[in-house]
């Protein structure tokens, strides 16, 4: 049942989705609720807008296909975030395979995308920060982005990435140190 603002909870949307005649309606509401948050999460990982758009569409297509068997062991938000993260990482790995170059060159490619990105309006320090983030190893980069920009709790990040809170804290700590060193050196 919708609240006073006419909004359904995640659980209600999932229940609606399981009613065949209301699936499209419920899914549309889920997309509208989470599209922006997931977009920005993916965008910071992939940098390029068009690639992010493709990845986000794939994320929701997978969500559509998987929602029929979704049993709410995790929250809808956590589940969607996990799909989006996996899709983004899958995109980067495919890109690495396609280019036949080491991951560092993919990061370099992302940095070049950043330089030429028409949908980037940050100042030089922001651009420098983004370049610093691109130097991080994959796991540290994801943890840093989720903690720093999305301000997620470690417990939530642990649930999404299926890892321990202690490991995440260590990753974030290392990430911040590397970024600050990069900013000092540049």
């Amino acid at each position: 049942m919708a609240n006073r603002k006419g909004e359904y909870s995640d659980s209600e949307l999932i229940r609606l989705f399981h009613e065949p005649e209301k699936s499209d309606y419920a899914f549309n509401l889920i997309v509208k609720r989470y599209q922006e948050r997931l977009y920005w999460h993916v965008r910071k990982l992939i940098i390029d807008h068009e690639d992010t758009d493709d990845t986000l569409q794939n994320t929701f297509i997978k969500a559509w296909n998987g929602l029929k068997s979704f049993r709410e062991d995790a929250s809808l938000f956590t589940w969607l975030y996990r799909i989006a993260t996996n899709e983004a990482l899958s995109f980067l790995r495919k890109k690495k395979k396609r280019s036949f170059v080491p991951l560092v060159d993919v990061e370099y490619s992302l940095e070049r995308n950043l330089e030429s990105d028409e949908y980037f309006n940050g100042d030089q320090i922001q651009k420098k920060l983004q370049k610093a983030i691109l130097t991080l190893p994959e796991k540290q980069r994801i943890v840093f982005l989720m903690r720093y920009y999305d301000e997620m709790k470690y417990e939530t990040i642990a649930e999404i990435l299926d890892t321990s809170v202690g490991s995440l804290k260590a990753s974030y700590h290392h990430a911040v140190k590397k970024i600050e060193k990069f900013l000092m050196d540049e």
């Binding site: 920005w40 807008h49 758009d53 569409q57 929701f60 990105d117 651009k127 920009y149 600050e180 900013l183």
Partner: protein, 144 residues
């Protein structure tokens, strides 16, 4: 430089109206996927459909062949029995026909012999032949 000294902000932007259009573009893509799934379901079932159709065709052909074969066999049996019955029914007639034919041939042969002996021209020729062969006239008279 410390990270805390940098203003936390999202430096990325999106094209105008992107989030307003996203949902409808996604629905289009999902619609195509649903159509594609229906088609792929058909294509994935296609070999099975052909297999089942082939098996059905073979089964029907086998049944038709079996029925025809059965009918042929029945016809053969019927024909054989008909022939047997006909033979049994007509055996007397056949014998009769055979006898009649034989009788006719024999009669004709007898008639031909009779004709030769009664024919005066033929008798004269025989007499002449015997005379030419120096057979005594008395012997010829006795034989005639």
């Amino acid at each position: 430089m410390k990270l805390s000294e940098i203003k936390k902000q999202n430096p990325f932007t999106v094209p105008d109206g992107y989030f307003n259009d996203f949902s409808s573009r996604l629905q289009d893509k999902l619609g195509k996927q649903k159509d594609s799934k229906k088609r792929s379901l058909y294509y994935s079932l296609k070999p099975y459909i052909y297999s089942v159709a082939s098996a059905a065709a073979i089964l029907i052909a086998a049944l038709v062949y079996y029925n025809i074969s059965e009918n042929k066999h029945s016809e053969t049996v019927l024909l054989s029995s008909e022939i047997a019955l006909a033979f049994e029914d007509n055996i007397y007639d056949l014998e009769e026909t055979y006898l009649i034919e034989n009788y006719t041939v024999q009669q004709e042969a007898e008639e031909m012999i009779y004709d030769y002996e009664s024919d005066p021209t033929y008798k004269d020729e025989i007499i002449q032949y015997l005379l030419d062969e120096d057979v005594e006239i008395e012997s010829i008279v006795n034989e005639l």
